[in-house]
């Protein structure tokens, strides 16, 4: 034993969590998933303000516009659009010339043109307020300069002409919020219930777990549909209720963990010191069950998101004009023949999120499972 060994700095201990964090950081799939999830959440949170469209604004001239980077209207589409507007003004357009952001054209009609009708240009989604350059033949010919209003639909539009990008992002807010909300409820109930049953043990445990068994025996979908019947229009309440059903697995997991933890020396020591049951549960038992619980949470969030989209597919979910990924996907599935983008984009968002959550869950399991060390 030399002096050198004594002088060396004390080895800093690493907690389970630090250990797990380093292992998680080494797992590339899990870290990529974490980043992807962060990006999707960020996009859904702030994206809807940046797209330049309102999620519930229907552009009547752009029903089912395919997704593209091009700005609308395209130069080829303008003459036809001018024709449509002119028809409403009851005039025939001619000399249509598109240059940049304006269109010059001449309207002619057998009778003098009512200039108030020019408001139809304004009402169209494609044009601004027209400027009259010249009138001729007692107002039967009008030369107009009409500004073109450019819009961009990166993800296309839906069957009502609403911007799909904005709707997908807004839907993401709803779907993610629902997933987190229901999972949060399940987490709280399941952890408290499971920890209490496991720690108290004996007859109380028996009784509490029999209740869980009975609830297990009821068909889950029956429960969910009953909840829809009860809460109908109030989606938030419904998902609080879904969370209140989903806690069963959580309770079982936590109870199992608790049973083994409560025999550990530090729990016995706490008991011997007279720490109240409540504090033993919150200070010693629950924090030590969190490993499996976190893994289960990352798998429960996608489960709830899928459940929501399943309900929306059945028409029992979020109501118009609000939307969720499930609603968009079921709309898209119905329109898949002519408008595949309506399915592709929301489905891509949903599947990417679920993929990322699953990879993250797997990564956490590997990171927290001490057997694989």
């Amino acid at each position: 034993m030399s002096d050198q060994a004594l002088a060396s700095p004390p080895i800093a201990g690493r907690s389970l969590w630090q250990d797990a964090a380093t292992r998680l950081q080494r797992n590339r799939a899990a870290m990529a998933s974490l980043i992807v999830l962060g990006l999707i959440a960020l996009a859904c949170l702030i994206g809807p303000w940046l797209t330049g469209h309102a999620y519930d604004h229907a552009y009547q001239d752009y029903v089912r516009t395919p997704a593209s980077f091009e700005s609308r209207p395209t130069a080829e589409a303008i003459p036809a659009a001018v024709q449509r507007v002119a028809a409403r003004i009851r005039a025939t357009p001619s000399d249509i010339a598109v240059n940049g952001d304006t269109v010059r054209l001449t309207l002619s009609a057998p009778r003098p043109i009512d200039q108030r009708l020019l408001v139809y240009f304004d009402r169209s989604d494609m044009f601004g307020t027209p400027k009259i350059l010249a009138t001729a033949e007692d107002g039967r010919r009008l030369s107009l300069e009409v500004p073109v209003e450019h819009l961009r639909f990166l993800f296309g539009t839906d069957g009502n002409g609403r911007d799909l990008l904005t709707r997908t992002l807004i839907a993401g807010r709803v779907s993610l919020a629902i997933g987190l909300l229901a999972t949060g409820v399940a987490l709280v109930i399941g952890v408290v219930y499971g920890a209490a049953a496991g720690y108290l043990g004996g007859r109380i445990d028996m009784l509490m777990m029999r209740i869980v068994d009975v609830l297990y025996a009821l068909p889950f979908i029956f429960f969910v549909i009953l909840l829809v019947v009860f809460f109908g229009r109030n989606f938030v309440l419904m998902f609080l209720a879904v969370g209140a059903i989903e806690w069963l697995d959580m309770a079982r997991i936590v109870r199992g963990q608790t049973l083994s933890i409560k025999r550990q020396d530090y729990v016995l020591a706490a008991e011997a010191l007279g720490v109240p049951t409540r504090d033993i549960l919150t200070r010693h038992i629950i924090p030590n069950t969190l490993g499996p619980v976190i893994i289960y949470v990352t798998l429960l969030v996608p489960k709830v998101i899928l459940l929501e989209s399943f309900l929306s597919f059945l028409g029992l979910g979020v109501q118009e004009p609000m939307t969720s990924w499930g609603v968009l996907i079921s709309d898209g599935a119905r329109a898949i023949e002519g408008a595949a983008w309506m399915l592709a984009f929301p489905a891509a968002f949903l599947v990417t999120t679920l993929f990322a959550l699953n990879f993250l869950g797997d990564g956490l399991r590997d990171a927290l499972d001490p057997r694989d060390r």
């Binding site: 979908i221 549909i225 399943f310 599935a333 898949i336 949903l350």
Partner: protein, 306 residues
């Protein structure tokens, strides 16, 4: 073995009773009734209807009447599908759902099991990543996305198979629904088989087999027996769910199964239909759990039935 089965069948009765009771009262306290229409019926008509279906009696009388009928195997008439009894609806729909579900289950086992074993033997190699990627996709992509894509690709673009319809159960019509039902199950079975196989391959008896220089297939067969346990216990509830039909698949492919009855029954407050579905599903769940326990005892001699 026989006493065990008998005892399990006996304990199934109270469970069924609890399920029936809970769902009966839950269904009845739900707002609305089976005869609520957009335009309310005349009070007299409503009163007559309620009397015919005995809805005017106190709830506990209705409950006892229903239980009595159920004991005699009588599920009662449907409120929504007039002219049909629940038994008739199930006689038509259950074989359809069961055929699709059983085929999907067999397909899932035949593909998912070998995939999982392959992935376990090639852990952390290309084949493993491929299988696990496929499995994650199978779990995450909802069936109502898979189904329309299959319809477009195989029904319209390639025009190999009919887009939808039952056509009295022609094999061509069942392929797409079966594949849709099987895909997520393949994924889950592959994942579970892989995980438990990896664990079993580390066991001592497998190491002994390896030391003896036996071929990989022999080792796989030995390991499979132990590795099958968690998969079997997953298969019980999964089989019950598959055989009793899927509302999404039956909706999309226009299949006359019983999967849709839960949703339709609950939304239309068809009390007897919902109760019938609950009972049928519960019986399937209990039966398959029993089967699972029996298979467990066969696979693992340490498990004692009792």
């Amino acid at each position: 073995m026989l006493p065990f089965i008998l005892r399990r069948l006996l304990t199934a009765i109270p469970t069924l009773l609890v399920v029936v009771t809970l769902s009966f009262f839950l269904m009845r306290v739900a707002p609305g009734g089976p005869f609520d229409l957009e335009q309310p019926l005349e009070a007299k008509v409503m009163a007559n209807l309620r009397r015919i279906y005995q809805l005017d009696q106190p709830l506990y009388t209705q409950y006892l009447t229903y239980l009595g009928a159920l004991l005699r195997g009588d599920f009662g008439p449907s409120f929504y599908f007039r002219d049909f009894t629940i038994a008739e609806l199930f006689r038509q729909g259950l074989p359809v759902s069961m055929r699709l579900g059983a085929s999907a289950l067999l397909l899932a086992l035949a593909i998912g099991g070998p995939l999982g074993v392959l992935a376990a033997f090639r852990q952390n190699q290309g084949a493993d990543y491929a299988v696990m990627g496929f499995a994650t996709a199978g779990i995450t992509i909802p069936n109502f996305v898979v189904a329309p894509v299959l319809q477009i690709v195989f029904g319209l673009t390639l025009a190999w198979l009919p887009v939808a319809g039952w056509n009295d159960g022609a094999v061509r019509n069942t392929i797409l629904p079966i594949v849709t039902l099987a895909l997520p199950q393949i994924a889950v079975i592959a994942r579970m088989t892989r995980a438990s196989m990896i664990e079993t391959l580390r066991a001592n008896h497998i190491r002994t087999l390896r030391a003896q220089g036996l071929p990989a297939t022999t080792i796989a067969l030995h390991a499979l027996r132990g590795a099958a346990l968690p998969v079997v216990s997953y298969l019980g509830p999964a089989a019950a769910a598959l055989l009793t039909g899927s509302v999404v698949v039956e909706n999309i492919f226009a299949i006359p199964g019983i999967g849709r009855y839960f949703v339709e029954g609950a939304l239309n407050r068809d009390y007897t239909l919902v109760m019938g579905t609950v009972v049928v599903v519960a019986i399937f769940v209990l039966a398959f759990n029993l089967v699972v326990d029996l298979i467990y005892a066969l696979l693992d001699p340490r498990v004692r039935l009792g």
